[in-house]
């Protein structure tokens, strides 16, 4: 079960409390009865996951600071290749902060600093020789609110390949392919030259996903991509994520626990610890495991309190 022989992602806590098996036993009965969240259809949650998949991104002992303020503390996490990993937790627990440090979007915030190491295919992403622009090309991002450019649908998609200097045989085909993958092609193929602002919110968000796909990234980060959408649009994005999993590694931050349960292969639960001296709220990683395990049989009491609605 546990893979602590793996030296790449050491566990921070030497005094490991109860073993996994003990915790599992202790909480099993309770979890199955009191957990109100259905982990139903489980297109993904119950998917066969190897214990040691190839990890694309790894965080080791990551602290993120904004100026003097430490927003996130000692996070060690790995994101599996062609898997969907969800980051969940109450507001202010640092899950978005971690997400934004995964493609160096935090660099754009004045005073933001990352300590520890974040590796992409084993390469330290924050090393001096690394070009943050190159990082963002490989690791795309979809934002909370759909944010298409004030351009035509076509130009929204073509923008990325153009600015990154991608060699594309035919831009038209490339645009079509990206839109097809994002399940938007049929809806927009007749109005490619029209403004992206004419699309509905859900369509705009899929356009943003298509735009990200068009630069052929390796990883797609999604920061609460459905929080501004209605349930139908949300369902479409969710099924799109599951479809895209075979091609991309996906990391999603979500407020919606059901969403994590529905789409994510693995889930990391964060919470905010309050410093007694300063009153600062610092995000910490509580538990990281297969989604089914997190929702049915969490190892940590705090996780259980959160998913059963007793906290947060």
């Amino acid at each position: 079960m546990s893979t602590h022989d793996d030296t790449q992602v050491p566990t921070r806590n030497p005094a490991t409390p109860p073993t996994a098996a003990q915790t599992q036993e202790a909480t099993m009965a309770q979890a199955t009865t009191s957990n109100p969240i259905s982990t139903r259809p489980a297109q993904s949650a119950h998917r066969d996951l190897s214990d040691t998949p190839a990890s694309v991104l790894e965080c080791e002992d990551v602290d993120v600071y904004y100026g003097q303020f430490r927003a996130v503390r000692e996070v060690s996490l790995a994101f599996g290749h062609n898997e969907i990993t969800a980051l969940i937790g109450p507001s202010g627990c640092g899950k978005s902060t971690i997400l934004r440090s995964l493609n160096r979007m935090n660099d754009l915030v004045e005073g933001a600093r990352v300590k520890g190491s974040i590796r992409y295919w084993g390469q330290d992403m924050y090393a001096d020789a690394v070009d943050p622009i190159e990082v963002r090309r490989r690791i795309g991002m979809v934002f909370q609110k759909p944010n298409p450019f004030p351009k035509s649908i076509y130009d929204n998609i073509a923008y990325g390949p153009r600015v990154t200097g991608m060699k594309v045989a035919s831009m038209d085909d490339h645009v079509e392919q990206a839109l097809t993958r994002a399940a938007l092609w049929d809806e927009v193929k007749d109005k490619l030259k029209q403004s992206a602002y004419g699309l509905s919110g859900g369509q705009q968000q899929r356009l943003c996903i298509a735009r990200t796909i068009a630069v052929e990234p390796d990883v797609i980060l999604m920061d609460e991509p459905c929080s501004a959408l209605d349930p139908i649009a949300t369902a479409r994005i969710e099924s799109l994520m599951v479809d895209l999993r075979d091609l991309y590694t996906i990391v999603i931050v979500t407020h919606n626990m059901q969403q994590a349960a529905r789409v994510a292969d693995r889930t990391a639960f964060f919470t905010a610890g309050v410093d007694e001296e300063t009153g600062d709220r610092t995000g910490v990683l509580v538990e990281f495991d297969r989604t089914s395990k997190i929702f049915e049989n969490p190892a940590d009491q705090r996780t259980e309190d959160y998913i059963t609605g007793r906290f947060g």
């Binding site: 963002r136 795309g140 004030p150």
Partner: protein, 302 residues
């Protein structure tokens, strides 16, 4: 001019929230009347100014104004060199000030570290420059011309330096406002696709800010069109009997020509001044109207 427009909804909400009867006390009615008077002072003056100018100059507003050179005989005098001079001067001013102003605004808004004392000093400096009397810029232009060893101060490029530096702060401030209005989500989306900050600025932020920049720039240029004071120092008030035809050409401009005619004792020249004023006011109203139309048609795009 600031373009601040608070939300309509809260305004109406406030109207509904206040009781009617208490608004009708004599004091309140008088107060509201005084507010109306305040507005009327401005508008009535504007209307009277336009009417008196038109009344005095209408008969003289004809083709001669464009085709004739200045003359000591009012009947034969025109503003042809002044019209051409204004075009040259304002054209050169635009070429000088717009790229510099936009570049400065882009640096300060998109790239500069706001916590750096030097950048804050630059901001303070620009705010101060925007309120320095215009005539001082004429003295600056004299200094610049002297620095380059130009003996003749009455050249188009000298006027363009004076007016360009005069409107530079205005362009910088309005461009910064326009850039600030572009949502940061667009910048982030572009950066997340792997474009550099410069590509983001050039292809996303600046195009999105174009309407705001255009509005501010047109208003700034309209100020340059109407400005006379700094050009007086550059020998703008000369009797020019040729067409200004280049950056090194001698010049006079419309406002200076008007000033010159208002100085003349004969009433006939005052008619000419009024006629040229009508023309100048029409041009400026036109520029203002274009700016307002651009602004209104692009409000609330996101």
């Amino acid at each position: 001019m600031s373009l601040h427009t608070p939300a309509t909804a809260t305004r109406t909400a406030r109207l509904g929230a206040t009781g009617r009867s208490k608004e009708r006390t004599p004091g309140s009615v008088i107060f509201l009347g005084l507010l109306w008077v305040s507005l009327l002072v401005a508008f009535v003056t504007l209307v009277v100014l336009i009417i008196t100018t038109v009344a005095e100059g209408w008969d003289r507003l004809d083709g001669r104004l464009f085709t004739e050179f200045p003359s000591s005989r009012p009947a034969e005098a025109g503003a042809r060199p002044a019209v051409l001079g204004s075009l040259w001067v304002v054209g050169a001013t635009a070429v000088l000030a717009i790229p510099l102003g936009v570049a400065t605004a882009v640096h300060l808004e998109e790239f500069a570290d706001r916590r750096n004392w030097f950048n804050r000093f630059i901001e303070l400096n620009i705010q101060n420059l925007s309120a320095i009397p215009s005539i001082i810029y004429g003295m600056l232009a004299l200094g610049v011309l002297a620095l380059f060893g130009v003996g003749n101060k009455n050249i188009v490029i000298g006027a363009a330096v004076a007016l360009g530096l005069l409107i530079l702060p205005v362009i910088i401030i309005s461009t910064r406002e326009a850039l600030r209005a572009v949502p940061s989500e667009l910048r982030q989306a572009s950066l997340a696709l792997g474009s550099s900050e410069l590509q983001t600025t050039w292809r996303i932020t600046l195009p999105a800010a174009v309407p705001g920049i255009a509005t501010g720039t047109i208003l700034a240029l309209s100020r340059a069109v109407g400005e006379a004071a700094p050009l007086l120092l550059l020998g703008g008030l000369v009797f020019i009997s040729f067409d200004p035809n280049g950056l090194l050409s001698g010049f006079t401009t419309m406002p200076i020509q008007i000033f010159s005619w208002t100085n003349a004792p004969q009433p006939a020249f005052h008619e000419l001044a009024a006629a040229a004023s009508i023309l100048l006011i029409a041009i400026l109203i036109g520029m203002n109207a274009i700016a307002i139309v651009i602004r209104n048609s692009h409000q609330k795009r996101w």
